[in-house]
Symmetry: C2
Subunit: 206 residues, 2 copies
Amino acid sequence: MIENKGILFVLSGPSGVGKGTVRKEIFNRKNDLKYSISATTRGMRQGEKNGIDYFFKSKDEFQTLIEENKLLEYAKYVDNYYGTPRDYVEEMLAKGHDVFLEIEVQGALQVKKNFPDGVFIFLLPPSLEELKNRIVSRGTETNELVRNRLSEAKKEIRMMDNYDYAVLNDDVNRAVENVQSIIASEHLKRERVEKEYRKILEVELP
Amino acid sequence: MIENKGILFVLSGPSGVGKGTVRKEIFNRKNDLKYSISATTRGMRQGEKNGIDYFFKSKDEFQTLIEENKLLEYAKYVDNYYGTPRDYVEEMLAKGHDVFLEIEVQGALQVKKNFPDGVFIFLLPPSLEELKNRIVSRGTETNELVRNRLSEAKKEIRMMDNYDYAVLNDDVNRAVENVQSIIASEHLKRERVEKEYRKILEVELP
Protein backbone atom coordinates (compact mmCIF):
# COMPACT_ATOMS: atom_id res chain seq x y z
CA MET A 1 0.00 0.00 0.00
CA ILE A 2 1.41 3.35 -1.00
CA GLU A 3 -0.05 6.20 1.05
CA ASN A 4 0.17 9.93 0.41
CA LYS A 5 3.52 10.29 2.09
CA GLY A 6 7.09 10.92 1.07
CA ILE A 7 9.28 8.45 -0.78
CA LEU A 8 12.47 7.09 0.76
CA PHE A 9 15.37 7.03 -1.73
CA VAL A 10 18.43 5.04 -0.75
CA LEU A 11 21.70 5.53 -2.65
CA SER A 12 24.22 2.81 -1.93
CA GLY A 13 27.06 0.89 -3.53
CA PRO A 14 30.57 -0.35 -2.80
CA SER A 15 32.97 1.76 -0.76
CA GLY A 16 34.92 4.12 -3.01
CA VAL A 17 32.35 4.18 -5.80
CA GLY A 18 31.64 7.89 -5.26
CA LYS A 19 28.34 7.82 -3.35
CA GLY A 20 29.28 10.94 -1.39
CA THR A 21 30.24 12.93 -4.47
CA VAL A 22 27.02 12.03 -6.27
CA ARG A 23 24.93 12.80 -3.19
CA LYS A 24 26.59 16.20 -2.70
CA GLU A 25 26.02 17.17 -6.33
CA ILE A 26 22.35 16.14 -6.09
CA PHE A 27 21.98 18.44 -3.10
CA ASN A 28 23.87 21.25 -4.87
CA ARG A 29 21.09 21.26 -7.44
CA LYS A 30 17.48 22.24 -6.93
CA ASN A 31 15.63 19.45 -5.14
CA ASP A 32 12.84 18.77 -2.66
CA LEU A 33 14.71 16.04 -0.81
CA LYS A 34 15.51 15.85 2.87
CA TYR A 35 18.98 14.44 3.41
CA SER A 36 19.42 12.10 6.33
CA ILE A 37 22.90 12.50 7.80
CA SER A 38 24.50 9.27 9.00
CA ALA A 39 26.27 8.65 12.27
CA THR A 40 29.71 7.01 12.13
CA THR A 41 32.65 6.04 14.31
CA ARG A 42 35.21 6.46 11.53
CA GLY A 43 37.73 9.28 11.75
CA MET A 44 36.91 12.66 10.26
CA ARG A 45 38.67 13.17 6.89
CA GLN A 46 40.13 16.46 5.74
CA GLY A 47 37.39 18.88 4.76
CA GLU A 48 34.64 16.97 6.53
CA LYS A 49 32.45 18.60 9.18
CA ASN A 50 30.58 17.06 12.09
CA GLY A 51 26.80 17.34 11.58
CA ILE A 52 27.26 18.08 7.87
CA ASP A 53 29.03 15.08 6.36
CA TYR A 54 28.36 12.75 9.28
CA PHE A 55 27.61 12.80 12.96
CA PHE A 56 31.02 11.64 14.18
CA LYS A 57 30.63 9.46 17.28
CA SER A 58 32.89 7.52 19.63
CA LYS A 59 32.34 3.77 19.79
CA ASP A 60 30.70 4.17 23.20
CA GLU A 61 28.30 6.82 21.95
CA PHE A 62 27.42 4.68 18.97
CA GLN A 63 26.76 1.68 21.20
CA THR A 64 24.28 3.75 23.21
CA LEU A 65 22.37 4.70 20.03
CA ILE A 66 22.11 1.01 19.14
CA GLU A 67 20.90 0.01 22.60
CA GLU A 68 18.27 2.74 22.65
CA ASN A 69 16.98 1.60 19.25
CA LYS A 70 17.63 5.05 17.82
CA LEU A 71 19.13 3.73 14.58
CA LEU A 72 17.16 2.67 11.55
CA GLU A 73 20.13 0.61 10.47
CA TYR A 74 23.75 0.28 11.41
CA ALA A 75 26.66 -1.71 10.10
CA LYS A 76 30.25 -2.38 10.94
CA TYR A 77 32.34 -1.74 7.88
CA VAL A 78 36.03 -2.64 8.01
CA ASP A 79 36.66 -1.32 11.57
CA ASN A 80 34.01 1.36 11.85
CA TYR A 81 30.31 1.65 12.51
CA TYR A 82 27.88 3.57 10.30
CA GLY A 83 24.21 4.13 11.11
CA THR A 84 21.09 6.12 10.27
CA PRO A 85 19.23 8.00 13.02
CA ARG A 86 15.64 6.70 12.88
CA ASP A 87 13.46 9.59 14.11
CA TYR A 88 14.31 12.12 11.40
CA VAL A 89 13.57 9.70 8.54
CA GLU A 90 10.22 8.60 9.92
CA GLU A 91 9.08 12.12 10.74
CA MET A 92 9.95 13.54 7.32
CA LEU A 93 8.25 10.71 5.43
CA ALA A 94 5.11 11.08 7.56
CA LYS A 95 5.02 14.79 6.70
CA GLY A 96 5.10 13.96 2.97
CA HIS A 97 8.74 14.83 2.31
CA ASP A 98 11.04 12.62 0.30
CA VAL A 99 14.07 11.46 2.27
CA PHE A 100 17.43 10.67 0.70
CA LEU A 101 19.86 8.26 2.37
CA GLU A 102 23.42 7.66 1.21
CA ILE A 103 24.61 4.56 3.02
CA GLU A 104 26.76 1.44 2.86
CA VAL A 105 25.39 -1.75 1.29
CA GLN A 106 24.88 -3.67 4.52
CA GLY A 107 22.91 -0.79 5.99
CA ALA A 108 20.76 -0.44 2.89
CA LEU A 109 19.63 -4.04 3.24
CA GLN A 110 18.52 -3.38 6.83
CA VAL A 111 16.62 -0.27 5.73
CA LYS A 112 14.87 -2.36 3.11
CA LYS A 113 13.42 -4.59 5.83
CA ASN A 114 11.93 -1.53 7.55
CA PHE A 115 10.92 0.26 4.32
CA PRO A 116 10.15 -2.26 1.58
CA ASP A 117 8.49 0.53 -0.44
CA GLY A 118 11.72 2.54 -0.48
CA VAL A 119 13.52 3.05 -3.78
CA PHE A 120 16.95 1.43 -3.68
CA ILE A 121 19.60 2.71 -6.08
CA PHE A 122 22.92 0.92 -6.49
CA LEU A 123 25.87 3.02 -7.65
CA LEU A 124 28.36 1.02 -9.68
CA PRO A 125 32.00 1.73 -10.54
CA PRO A 126 32.92 1.49 -14.25
CA SER A 127 35.23 -1.40 -13.27
CA LEU A 128 36.94 -2.91 -10.20
CA GLU A 129 40.23 -1.56 -11.59
CA GLU A 130 38.79 1.96 -11.52
CA LEU A 131 37.45 1.39 -8.00
CA LYS A 132 40.92 0.35 -6.85
CA ASN A 133 42.45 3.47 -8.39
CA ARG A 134 39.93 5.66 -6.62
CA ILE A 135 40.56 4.08 -3.23
CA VAL A 136 44.35 4.26 -3.65
CA SER A 137 44.33 7.87 -4.88
CA ARG A 138 42.27 8.93 -1.88
CA GLY A 139 45.54 8.29 0.01
CA THR A 140 43.83 7.55 3.29
CA GLU A 141 44.15 3.77 3.27
CA THR A 142 46.94 1.23 3.79
CA ASN A 143 47.58 -1.54 1.23
CA GLU A 144 45.85 -4.08 3.38
CA LEU A 145 42.80 -1.84 3.72
CA VAL A 146 42.72 -1.37 -0.06
CA ARG A 147 42.67 -5.14 -0.52
CA ASN A 148 39.96 -5.53 2.12
CA ARG A 149 37.86 -2.84 0.53
CA LEU A 150 38.11 -4.38 -2.94
CA SER A 151 37.21 -7.78 -1.58
CA GLU A 152 34.21 -6.21 0.17
CA ALA A 153 33.33 -4.36 -3.04
CA LYS A 154 33.10 -7.65 -4.95
CA LYS A 155 30.77 -9.07 -2.31
CA GLU A 156 28.73 -5.90 -2.33
CA ILE A 157 28.32 -5.80 -6.11
CA ARG A 158 26.88 -9.29 -5.81
CA MET A 159 24.21 -7.79 -3.53
CA MET A 160 22.78 -5.57 -6.23
CA ASP A 161 20.00 -8.14 -6.66
CA ASN A 162 18.26 -6.41 -3.78
CA TYR A 163 18.11 -3.03 -5.50
CA ASP A 164 15.54 -1.42 -7.79
CA TYR A 165 17.97 0.54 -9.96
CA ALA A 166 21.64 0.43 -10.91
CA VAL A 167 23.44 3.62 -11.94
CA LEU A 168 26.93 3.58 -13.40
CA ASN A 169 29.21 6.25 -11.94
CA ASP A 170 31.52 6.74 -14.91
CA ASP A 171 30.68 10.45 -14.99
CA VAL A 172 29.34 12.34 -11.95
CA ASN A 173 27.00 14.61 -13.89
CA ARG A 174 25.52 11.72 -15.81
CA ALA A 175 25.11 9.71 -12.61
CA VAL A 176 23.39 12.66 -10.92
CA GLU A 177 21.03 13.16 -13.86
CA ASN A 178 20.18 9.49 -13.81
CA VAL A 179 19.39 9.56 -10.09
CA GLN A 180 17.23 12.64 -10.71
CA SER A 181 15.35 10.79 -13.45
CA ILE A 182 14.69 7.94 -11.04
CA ILE A 183 13.37 10.36 -8.40
CA ALA A 184 11.09 12.06 -10.95
CA SER A 185 9.76 8.85 -12.44
CA GLU A 186 9.04 7.25 -9.07
CA HIS A 187 6.65 10.13 -8.40
CA LEU A 188 4.88 9.33 -11.67
CA LYS A 189 4.15 5.69 -10.88
CA ARG A 190 0.51 5.09 -11.47
CA GLU A 191 -0.20 3.50 -8.11
CA ARG A 192 1.25 6.52 -6.32
CA VAL A 193 -0.78 9.14 -8.16
CA GLU A 194 -3.95 7.27 -9.01
CA LYS A 195 -5.96 8.35 -5.96
CA GLU A 196 -5.32 12.00 -6.62
CA TYR A 197 -6.18 11.81 -10.30
CA ARG A 198 -9.40 9.93 -9.69
CA LYS A 199 -10.80 13.31 -8.57
CA ILE A 200 -10.92 14.22 -12.25
CA LEU A 201 -13.74 11.75 -12.61
CA GLU A 202 -15.93 13.57 -10.12
CA VAL A 203 -16.67 16.30 -12.67
CA GLU A 204 -20.11 15.98 -14.28
CA LEU A 205 -20.46 15.57 -18.02
CA PRO A 206 -21.83 18.69 -19.80
CA MET B 1 12.42 -12.13 -18.45
CA ILE B 2 14.06 -9.02 -19.78
CA GLU B 3 16.50 -9.68 -22.61
CA ASN B 4 19.10 -7.38 -24.11
CA LYS B 5 16.65 -5.76 -26.47
CA GLY B 6 14.90 -2.45 -26.84
CA ILE B 7 12.14 -1.21 -24.58
CA LEU B 8 8.64 -0.54 -25.87
CA PHE B 9 7.20 2.73 -24.53
CA VAL B 10 3.49 3.30 -25.02
CA LEU B 11 2.04 6.78 -24.53
CA SER B 12 -1.73 6.76 -24.29
CA GLY B 13 -4.62 8.58 -22.67
CA PRO B 14 -8.06 9.96 -23.46
CA SER B 15 -8.75 11.58 -26.80
CA GLY B 16 -7.95 15.30 -26.71
CA VAL B 17 -5.47 15.05 -23.82
CA GLY B 18 -2.60 16.14 -26.06
CA LYS B 19 -0.81 12.85 -26.78
CA GLY B 20 0.20 14.01 -30.25
CA THR B 21 1.64 17.31 -29.01
CA VAL B 22 3.68 15.62 -26.30
CA ARG B 23 4.92 12.95 -28.69
CA LYS B 24 5.96 15.54 -31.32
CA GLU B 25 7.89 17.56 -28.71
CA ILE B 26 9.66 14.40 -27.48
CA PHE B 27 10.79 13.72 -31.03
CA ASN B 28 11.83 17.36 -31.55
CA ARG B 29 14.37 16.82 -28.78
CA LYS B 30 17.40 14.56 -28.85
CA ASN B 31 16.34 10.96 -28.39
CA ASP B 32 17.20 7.40 -29.37
CA LEU B 33 13.62 6.31 -29.90
CA LYS B 34 12.06 4.81 -32.98
CA TYR B 35 8.57 6.19 -33.51
CA SER B 36 5.98 3.76 -34.76
CA ILE B 37 3.52 5.58 -37.01
CA SER B 38 -0.08 4.41 -36.66
CA ALA B 39 -2.50 3.60 -39.42
CA THR B 40 -5.97 5.19 -39.29
CA THR B 41 -9.16 5.55 -41.28
CA ARG B 42 -9.97 8.98 -39.86
CA GLY B 43 -9.84 12.03 -42.12
CA MET B 44 -6.60 13.95 -42.48
CA ARG B 45 -6.67 17.19 -40.46
CA GLN B 46 -5.14 20.45 -41.62
CA GLY B 47 -1.35 20.31 -41.43
CA GLU B 48 -1.19 16.54 -41.20
CA LYS B 49 0.79 14.46 -43.68
CA ASN B 50 0.34 10.86 -44.78
CA GLY B 51 3.25 8.71 -43.59
CA ILE B 52 4.31 11.36 -41.05
CA ASP B 53 1.38 11.84 -38.67
CA TYR B 54 -0.44 8.65 -39.66
CA PHE B 55 -0.75 6.24 -42.50
CA PHE B 56 -4.18 7.34 -43.72
CA LYS B 57 -6.13 4.31 -44.99
CA SER B 58 -9.56 3.65 -46.44
CA LYS B 59 -11.80 1.28 -44.45
CA ASP B 60 -11.20 -1.44 -47.06
CA GLU B 61 -7.44 -1.06 -46.86
CA PHE B 62 -7.58 -1.18 -43.07
CA GLN B 63 -9.73 -4.35 -43.17
CA THR B 64 -7.06 -6.04 -45.28
CA LEU B 65 -4.35 -5.19 -42.72
CA ILE B 66 -6.50 -6.75 -39.99
CA GLU B 67 -7.16 -9.91 -42.00
CA GLU B 68 -3.50 -10.38 -42.84
CA ASN B 69 -2.59 -10.02 -39.13
CA LYS B 70 -0.35 -7.09 -39.95
CA LEU B 71 -1.51 -5.00 -36.97
CA LEU B 72 -0.17 -5.28 -33.47
CA GLU B 73 -3.37 -3.71 -32.22
CA TYR B 74 -6.30 -1.89 -33.70
CA ALA B 75 -9.35 -0.21 -32.29
CA LYS B 76 -12.49 1.48 -33.46
CA TYR B 77 -12.74 4.85 -31.79
CA VAL B 78 -15.93 6.85 -32.36
CA ASP B 79 -16.30 6.06 -36.09
CA ASN B 80 -12.72 5.45 -37.10
CA TYR B 81 -10.12 2.71 -36.91
CA TYR B 82 -6.61 3.17 -35.53
CA GLY B 83 -3.89 0.53 -35.62
CA THR B 84 -0.19 -0.17 -35.22
CA PRO B 85 1.72 -1.96 -37.99
CA ARG B 86 3.34 -4.97 -36.31
CA ASP B 87 6.52 -5.68 -38.30
CA TYR B 88 8.29 -2.39 -37.64
CA VAL B 89 7.84 -2.59 -33.86
CA GLU B 90 9.07 -6.16 -33.58
CA GLU B 91 12.07 -5.60 -35.84
CA MET B 92 13.26 -2.49 -34.01
CA LEU B 93 12.95 -4.08 -30.56
CA ALA B 94 14.85 -7.16 -31.73
CA LYS B 95 17.64 -4.90 -32.98
CA GLY B 96 17.90 -3.30 -29.52
CA HIS B 97 16.15 -0.02 -30.33
CA ASP B 98 13.52 1.51 -28.09
CA VAL B 99 10.17 1.95 -29.81
CA PHE B 100 7.69 4.67 -28.93
CA LEU B 101 3.97 4.25 -29.62
CA GLU B 102 1.39 6.98 -29.23
CA ILE B 103 -1.99 5.27 -29.35
CA GLU B 104 -5.56 5.25 -28.08
CA VAL B 105 -6.43 3.56 -24.79
CA GLN B 106 -8.16 0.52 -26.26
CA GLY B 107 -5.19 -0.12 -28.53
CA ALA B 108 -2.72 0.21 -25.67
CA LEU B 109 -4.49 -2.57 -23.77
CA GLN B 110 -4.13 -4.87 -26.78
CA VAL B 111 -0.44 -4.03 -27.06
CA LYS B 112 -0.04 -4.88 -23.38
CA LYS B 113 -1.22 -8.43 -24.08
CA ASN B 114 1.49 -8.82 -26.73
CA PHE B 115 4.19 -6.92 -24.80
CA PRO B 116 3.64 -7.26 -21.05
CA ASP B 117 7.20 -5.93 -20.49
CA GLY B 118 6.36 -2.69 -22.29
CA VAL B 119 6.24 0.55 -20.32
CA PHE B 120 2.74 2.03 -20.37
CA ILE B 121 2.36 5.76 -19.74
CA PHE B 122 -1.06 7.34 -19.24
CA LEU B 123 -1.36 11.02 -20.14
CA LEU B 124 -3.96 12.80 -18.02
CA PRO B 125 -5.78 16.09 -18.58
CA PRO B 126 -5.70 18.57 -15.66
CA SER B 127 -9.51 18.20 -15.51
CA LEU B 128 -12.44 16.97 -17.60
CA GLU B 129 -13.46 20.63 -18.02
CA GLU B 130 -10.07 21.37 -19.58
CA LEU B 131 -10.37 18.31 -21.80
CA LYS B 132 -13.76 19.55 -23.03
CA ASN B 133 -12.30 22.98 -23.82
CA ARG B 134 -9.49 21.43 -25.79
CA ILE B 135 -11.81 19.24 -27.86
CA VAL B 136 -14.21 22.15 -28.55
CA SER B 137 -11.44 24.59 -29.44
CA ARG B 138 -9.99 22.13 -31.93
CA GLY B 139 -13.14 23.04 -33.92
CA THR B 140 -13.26 19.79 -35.82
CA GLU B 141 -16.06 18.12 -33.87
CA THR B 142 -19.85 18.47 -33.63
CA ASN B 143 -21.56 18.86 -30.23
CA GLU B 144 -22.64 15.25 -30.21
CA LEU B 145 -19.07 14.14 -30.92
CA VAL B 146 -17.78 16.32 -28.08
CA ARG B 147 -20.22 14.63 -25.68
CA ASN B 148 -19.26 11.19 -26.99
CA ARG B 149 -15.59 11.95 -26.60
CA LEU B 150 -15.98 13.16 -23.02
CA SER B 151 -18.03 10.13 -22.10
CA GLU B 152 -15.31 7.96 -23.64
CA ALA B 153 -12.65 9.97 -21.79
CA LYS B 154 -14.27 9.17 -18.45
CA LYS B 155 -14.29 5.47 -19.30
CA GLU B 156 -10.69 5.69 -20.46
CA ILE B 157 -9.45 7.45 -17.34
CA ARG B 158 -10.92 4.54 -15.36
CA MET B 159 -8.59 2.30 -17.39
CA MET B 160 -5.44 3.86 -16.00
CA ASP B 161 -5.19 0.87 -13.63
CA ASN B 162 -3.50 -0.96 -16.47
CA TYR B 163 -0.68 1.54 -16.81
CA ASP B 164 2.74 1.80 -15.19
CA TYR B 165 2.93 5.59 -15.03
CA ALA B 166 0.56 8.56 -15.08
CA VAL B 167 1.74 11.94 -16.37
CA LEU B 168 -0.34 15.09 -16.01
CA ASN B 169 -0.43 17.20 -19.18
CA ASP B 170 -0.98 20.60 -17.57
CA ASP B 171 2.16 21.94 -19.26
CA VAL B 172 3.63 20.37 -22.40
CA ASN B 173 7.29 20.92 -21.46
CA ARG B 174 6.79 19.47 -18.01
CA ALA B 175 4.91 16.48 -19.45
CA VAL B 176 7.72 15.91 -21.98
CA GLU B 177 10.39 16.09 -19.28
CA ASN B 178 8.45 13.64 -17.17
CA VAL B 179 8.15 11.17 -20.04
CA GLN B 180 11.89 11.59 -20.66
CA SER B 181 12.59 10.80 -16.98
CA ILE B 182 10.50 7.64 -17.27
CA ILE B 183 12.43 6.57 -20.38
CA ALA B 184 15.79 7.22 -18.67
CA SER B 185 14.87 5.48 -15.42
CA GLU B 186 13.46 2.40 -17.14
CA HIS B 187 16.92 1.87 -18.64
CA LEU B 188 18.37 1.97 -15.12
CA LYS B 189 16.20 -0.77 -13.67
CA ARG B 190 18.45 -3.25 -11.97
CA GLU B 191 17.05 -6.31 -13.71
CA ARG B 192 17.67 -4.74 -17.12
CA VAL B 193 21.30 -3.86 -16.53
CA GLU B 194 22.42 -6.52 -14.08
CA LYS B 195 23.75 -8.96 -16.66
CA GLU B 196 25.98 -6.35 -18.21
CA TYR B 197 27.35 -5.10 -14.90
CA ARG B 198 28.12 -8.58 -13.64
CA LYS B 199 31.09 -8.43 -16.02
CA ILE B 200 32.71 -6.11 -13.49
CA LEU B 201 33.05 -9.09 -11.18
CA GLU B 202 35.19 -11.00 -13.66
CA VAL B 203 38.17 -8.77 -12.86
CA GLU B 204 40.73 -10.42 -10.55
CA LEU B 205 41.57 -8.88 -7.21
CA PRO B 206 45.07 -7.33 -7.07
